[in-house]
């Protein structure tokens, strides 16, 4: 197991290096010059602009800038934000918790709602319940998240005033107020979990049906075991295997897809912050954001593979 993890981590290094090069190049190829952008409208003179360019090392040739940056990354120095004048990595810590909160709650909703829906659809196959769930599943995939988010805000927040219109805390409430936080998290978490719920319900339905048709299930029935035992002890565990596969990708999707939800609901998370940095061409923050997300992604895939091996004894990690 340990060698497996080590091997996977080592294999991840070329991937991460490749990602870093691509990000580095793309961010600099995009039109616009960050120094001119954040000095536009100020009284900065040409000399001021060139001095800033030199300060941030942007006057060096590109490969040299990349090497400098890489060397710093290895020392865990992600550079200073052009806009905030604070270390990029430290800024992320402020935001990563917010995104993780949302992502984890969304993930929980996906599992708690998506999985049972899929199983129910399989068990009640052919009935109207099955049809309804399948239609909802397709709708869940097709509905654009930003549209749904806006509609929910208009309905629940503006019209009914049951929930806040956005943000993470209410003015005047302490930021550790759990109830307040949950109220703010409800709509964005629901919207964020939608695609996953749709996906899981379909996967589970297919898998459950497949499993229920297997010989060992028939054997279990023949042995006289109760329906519930057959379902939960024998069938479901096997049906869950593809869920684990989907899980790895889902985590990435949550952190990335959270951008849209975060924007619509003003949730101060990583996605929104990195996007704002992209618009402002805040190179250190953009690069740090992409590298950290990539690293999280790699780690989540490794975790997924380990869980996969644990869940399915037929799979070995060797």
């Amino acid at each position: 197991m340990r060698t497996f993890i080590l091997r996977r981590l080592i294999y991840a290094i070329p991937t991460l290096v490749g990602i870093s090069i691509i990000t580095f190049v793309i961010v600099r190829l995009a039109p616009g010059d960050p120094i001119r952008l954040f000095t536009f409208g100020s009284r900065a003179t040409s000399e001021d602009i060139e001095a800033l360019r030199h300060l941030y090392g942007l006057d060096k040739p590109l490969p040299l800038q990349y090497v400098d940056w890489l060397m710093n990354i290895l020392r865990l120095d992600f550079g200073q934000s052009f806009i905030y004048h604070q270390p990029a990595a430290a800024l992320f810590l402020d935001y990563v918790w917010n995104t993780l909160q949302l992502a984890l709650v969304a993930l929980a909703l996906q599992l708690l709602i998506g999985v049972p829906l899929g199983v129910i659809a399989a068990l009640k196959r052919g009935t109207w319940i099955d049809s309804v769930i399948r239609v909802l599943s397709v709708a869940g995939h097709a509905v654009p998240t930003f549209w749904l988010g806006l509609v929910l805000i208009i309905f629940f927040a503006v019209q009914l005033r049951w929930l806040p219109t956005g943000g993470i805390t209410t003015v005047g409430k302490d930021q550790w107020d759990i109830l307040d936080r949950l109220r703010h998290m409800l709509l964005p978490a629901i919207v964020l979990s939608l695609t996953g719920i749709a996906l899981y319900s379909r996967i589970l339905r297919t898998e459950t049906l497949d499993v229920l048709g297997q010989d060992y299930v028939r054997t279990a029935h023949a042995k006289g075991l109760r329906e519930r035992t057959v379902m939960f002890v024998h069938a479901l565990r096997n049906a869950l295997i593809p869920v684990v596969t989907a899980l790895g990708g889902i985590l990435a999707g949550l952190v990335g897809g959270a951008l849209v939800v975060e924007t619509v609901f003003s949730w101060p998370g990583l996605g929104r912050f990195t996007f704002a940095a992209a618009i402002a061409k805040d190179y250190p923050v953009i690069q740090a954001g992409v590298m950290i997300s990539s690293l999280l992604l790699v780690i989540s895939y490794i975790i997924r593979d380990i869980v996969y091996a644990v869940v399915d004894p037929r799979i070995s990690v060797r």
Partner: protein
């Protein structure tokens, strides 16, 4: 400076838009202003203000810093202005410079300013605010590597030498030995906009007891630039204290009981980050936000809401179409007659009605009506006249070909009108302009593009830009040097950047600008400078290097419960310590 809203993910783009904000001309961030007698501010001046309550302002982007020296966006400017008071301020309606924390006199030759800080002006830790504190701010600007405000002090004697490490003190600044609150500043030349540069927001005194240690002779620039007190200011001079910054969510300020003009009536001022302008408009309707501005398209709807009050005042800025008179591809733009035709050939009144619902004033020259420099002599109004436009084009040698498109010397009149994508107002203006110019026989197309690219092209003098729609936000002083002086024309060949992207220059205009900025006789009075600006505006009006577009109205909305709120073109929060919430 209108806020650019970029393309698809417009909302998140807005989040950063005020960071990249605006195209300021002579961009002094507006000093907080206000008349000494604030009784004019409220109708309910006779009522005794109730204590308590909270002011909540919505913002689309979060602040970046709370250090006046490093401020470079509107949001940071707002919060920093509530924490640190300025030496002088501007009347919110007229822009007239008046004392705030300090009064000042000018020497006969116009070269020396002597400031006397109010006896009552104190820091929140009880220490008095002194001339040394102002010097600390100037030292910080000189030593900081990240500030964009060094040019504010370039005319102060000895500043450049100090900044470049050639001197250990700034020779032009001296603090009175018998009165630490009195100090004088000697300039190298008479500079009329200087007073706002020196004593406005960038020159807010900084607590020497906090920042002095980062600005010693051996300190490095990053000592000051990375100081923790830049994001956690504990000693302030303004009406509010810093309490908490929940990143990208809210900034919470508490009232400063020791504020020298008297403690504010409200307990807290909260700056809440919201998704976009729609969220601000909704927040004003529901009462979640205490005050804010709305777009013209929402005015009719907001007028039906009983709980709010709407105050209109003119934006200190304008939206325009800039013509690249040096364009190698749109050669027609070099001819003054063509540019005049482009002014007569667009029905700007109809555009104003369509794009901003009539909430704007047409512009035919640089200064806007609310500025004292606004021309008094009547100027050509360029009323929509298609026939006249066609005649002018003909006079300039442009004849319609068989395809209906104007041509001259074998070249067709092509015109691409660029603007920043995501800003509906500007995109609409671009489209309407293109449509109207097509009727004159010009092959005009609208071309939105990302703001980031546009900004670089504009300031570097990229010759692929033919016509650009953008906006200027004007500073407190009417000096138009940065936009209109010939030295500000970008030259890619010589690596010179600037805001004069039209490439238009005129010797008489340069002289008028110079006279208004650095008068030889040292006379910085409004009357003297106004003469120069009359000449200046007349030349622009005649030559039309821009179609000067329009200056829109700001539609400020506030809850009826908010008293003493009286915003103007030059300042909104100048009297925030007098605002109170009526329960």
């Amino acid at each position: 400076m209108s806020h650019p809203r970029t393309g698809r993910a417009l909302i998140a783009a807005l989040a950063a838009s005020t960071l990249v904000a605006t195209a300021c001309a002579g961009g002094t961030p507006s000093a907080s202003s206000g008349p000494g007698a604030s009784a004019s501010a409220s109708a309910a001046a006779s009522e005794k203000p109730q204590q308590g309550g909270r002011i909540i302002e919505g913002t689309i982007s979060d602040i970046a810093t709370m250090q006046p020296v490093l401020v470079n966006d509107t949001a940071s400017g707002r919060i920093t202005g509530l924490l640190y008071d300025t030496l002088i301020q501007q009347d919110p309606k007229s822009g007239e410079v008046k004392p705030r924390m300090a009064s000042y006199t000018t020497s006969q030759d116009g070269l020396t300013y002597t400031f006397t800080i109010n006896d009552k002006a104190n820091w929140s830790d009880g220490k008095p605010i002194t001339g040394q504190d102002w010097l600390t701010a100037v030292t910080a600007v000189a030593k900081s590597a990240k500030t964009v405000r060094k040019s504010n002090f370039q005319d102060v004697q000895g500043f450049n030498d100090f900044k470049d490490g050639k001197a250990t003190t700034i020779s032009g600044i001296s603090i009175d030995s018998s009165n630490p609150k009195k100090f004088s500043v000697k300039m190298t030349k008479v500079s009329c906009p200087a007073i706002l540069d020196l004593a406005g927001a960038v020159g807010s005194p900084l607590p020497t007891q906090v920042f002095g240690k980062y600005l010693t002779a051996t300190s490095k620039p990053e000592d000051f630039d990375n100081a923790p007190e830049n994001t956690n200011p504990q000693v302030v001079s303004g009406p509010f204290l810093f309490k908490e910054w929940r990143k990208s969510d809210q900034v919470i300020l508490g009232k400063n009981d020791k504020y020298w003009q008297g403690a504010p009536n409200v307990d807290e001022y909260v700056y809440k980050v919201v998704a976009n302008q729609t969220a601000i408009t909704n927040g004003l309707k529901t009462g979640e936000l205490t005050f804010g501005s709305i777009q013209a398209k929402d005015l009719a709807d907001m007028q039906t809401v009983d709980s709010v009050k709407i105050t209109k005042y003119q934006n200190l800025g304008y939206t325009f179409i800039g013509w690249n008179t040096l364009s190698p591809t749109a050669v027609g733009l070099a001819d003054k007659r063509v540019r005049q035709a482009l002014a007569y050939g667009i029905d700007m009144d109809a555009v104003i009605k369509a794009v901003v619902f009539g909430e704007a004033t047409k512009q035919v020259a640089h200064h806007v009506p609310v500025q004292w420099a606004y021309p008094s002599t009547p100027l050509e109004q360029y009323k929509y006249d298609k026939a006249k436009a066609e005649q002018l084009l003909k006079d300039a040698g442009w004849v319609k070909g068989s395809d209906g498109i104007l041509a001259k010397d074998g070249k067709k009149f092509n015109l691409t009108i660029s603007t920043n994508s995501g800003n509906t107002e500007r995109e609409t203006l671009a489209q309407v302009a293109a449509d109207q110019y097509k009727q004159l026989g010009i092959n005009a197309v609208a071309k939105p593009e990302a703001f980031q690219g546009l900004v670089t092209k504009l300031t570097t003098g990229d010759q692929t830009l033919e016509a650009t729609i953008i906006g200027w936000s004007l500073g407190g002083d009417p000096d138009p040097y940065q936009i209109w002086h010939s030295s500000q024309i970008p030259n890619p060949a010589k690596n010179v950047t600037g805001f004069g992207f039209t490439g238009f220059k005129d010797a008489a205009m340069d002289k008028a600008i110079e006279d208004g900025r650095n008068p030889a006789n040292g006379d910085c009075s409004t009357a003297a400078r106004k003469k120069s600006y009359e000449t200046f505006n007349k030349i622009l009006n005649e030559n039309q290097p821009y179609n000067f577009g329009y200056a829109n109205n700001v539609l400020a909305v506030s809850q009826k419960s908010l008293q003493s709120f009286a915003p103007g073109s030059f300042s909104t929060t100048y009297n925030v310590y007098e605002w109170w919430i009526k329960k």
